[in-house]
Amino acid sequence: MLDKIVATLEESVSGIADGSTILCGGFAGAGIPTALLQALLRQGAKDLVLVSNNAGNGPLGMGELIAAGRVRKLIATYSRSVDPNNPNAKDFADAYVAGKIELECVPQGTLAERLRAAGAGMGPFFTPTAYGTKLAEGKETRVIDGVGYVLEQPLKAEYAFIKAHQADRWGNLNYRYAGRNFSPVMCTAATTTIAQVNEIVPLGGLVPEHVMTPGIFVKRVVLARGATQ
């Protein structure tokens, strides 16, 4: 019987080695896999490379891992705090200013498409985004039919940490509102996708055409009801 549900958060993050690259779903506070990130904090892996739109959503989860010195590099699109008076990425800013963490800043759509390329088995691709800017420096560029393009590389990872709304034991997922964001494409780009979910439903409990991530892209599902953000 195919059953991807694991009983505990500890089990869901077992086996993650030092030096792993982990794709982390979420945008602002929506769809952040805080329970998985906190389980990883307890698990102990270090020298991690995290891939995420932002550099944390307050002190919990990613902020705790960064503050504990467990993250070597962050690949992100917007790692500043949006509101300096209520910083969402203070731990990252402290580590970055202290030279303790590396940052690769990627345009948001380019990040999505690099993940898509990795998950869809594509090679490098040309995008017009960032042509003529400093984020294109060091990359191959080409003008095709009068439009300038930058060559970008697929971005794959050992793991993806996802927060979804509902799952079944085959790993089919759906998401609430804008909690979807990067998660479906991240599920495709990781060898092992781990989803924390609000609710587990019986097989057949999800409307097939409303499944947003088919279970083939998911390896482990763990219930984290009411998980704090």
Partner: protein, 228 residues
């Protein structure tokens, strides 16, 4: 900026109202953070204009104040939003296909500088202490059909934000189509053909506007008078 005796700058609200006049019914629009969010407040409710947020919301509306905060329903500025009847939500691949793929009709963005050739600088002042954070700005200007900038004409220190060449790092080369400032509405001509003033705040002269602008200006035959 020196406020000359003959004119005073437009309010931000008035600038936003002027932008809305140029966004027709049925348009798909992405509003940048900061000043451009005022445009959303000024859109006339009888005109159906569909607002896009980069986190996948199409058909964004004001948050329902009677509902508790829902962290899964926010905009790119992390603020609570609502969904209009007819709204849709997609993932980032599809949301950015809308942006980069040329499906959005208009975007209105803030800026640090706009150059006479349409180069836009709005993501990084290049300061050493900055944490590089581009978000979706480069994708947005790479694909949106009409890129509008809404900004003060000058910095607080009085330097023109319209320049011959941007000194800050670029968001996009030749990206901007039109500039709305507190003094004027200025079109950026394609292929580096320069800047043309379409409207000026009441009381200012062409000479005064040119003096306050660090790039050469041309003027349409009948420059509109922008009233307060």
């Amino acid at each position: 900026m020196n406020i000359k005796a003959g004119f005073k700058p437009l309010s931000r609200l008035r600038m936003a109202q002027l932008v809305t006049l140029d966004i027709p019914e049925g348009s798909y629009v992405n509003l940048g953070i900061g000043m451009p969010t005022l445009v959303g407040d000024c859109l006339p409710p009888e005109r159906e204009i569909i607002l896009h947020s980069e986190n996948g919301i199409l058909g964004m509306g004001p948050a329902d104040a009677s509902r508790p905060f829902d962290e899964d329903l926010v905009n790119a500025s992390r603020k609570p939003v609502g969904l209009q009847p007819g709204a849709s939500i997609s993932d980032h691949v599809v949301s950015f296909a809308m942006m980069r793929g040329g499906h959005l009709d208009y975007t209105v963005l803030g800026a640090f500088q706009v150059a006479a050739n349409g180069d836009l600088a709005n993501w990084d002042t290049g300061a050493r202490t900055n944490i590089p954070s581009v978000g979706g700005a480069m994708d947005l200007v790479a694909g949106t059909k009409n890129v509008f900038v809404m900004m003060e004409h000058a910095t607080r220190e009085g330097e023109s934000k319209i320049v011959e060449r941007c000194t800050y790092p670029l968001t996009g080369a030749g990206a901007v189509d039109r500039i709305y400032t507190d003094l004027a509405i200025i079109d950026v001509l394609p292929r580096g053909a320069g800047l043309v003033v379409r409207g000026m705040v009441e009381g200012i002269t062409r000479g005064e506007l040119q003096e306050l602008t660090a790039a050469p200006l041309k003027f349409v035959v009948e420059v509109a008078v922008l009233k307060h």
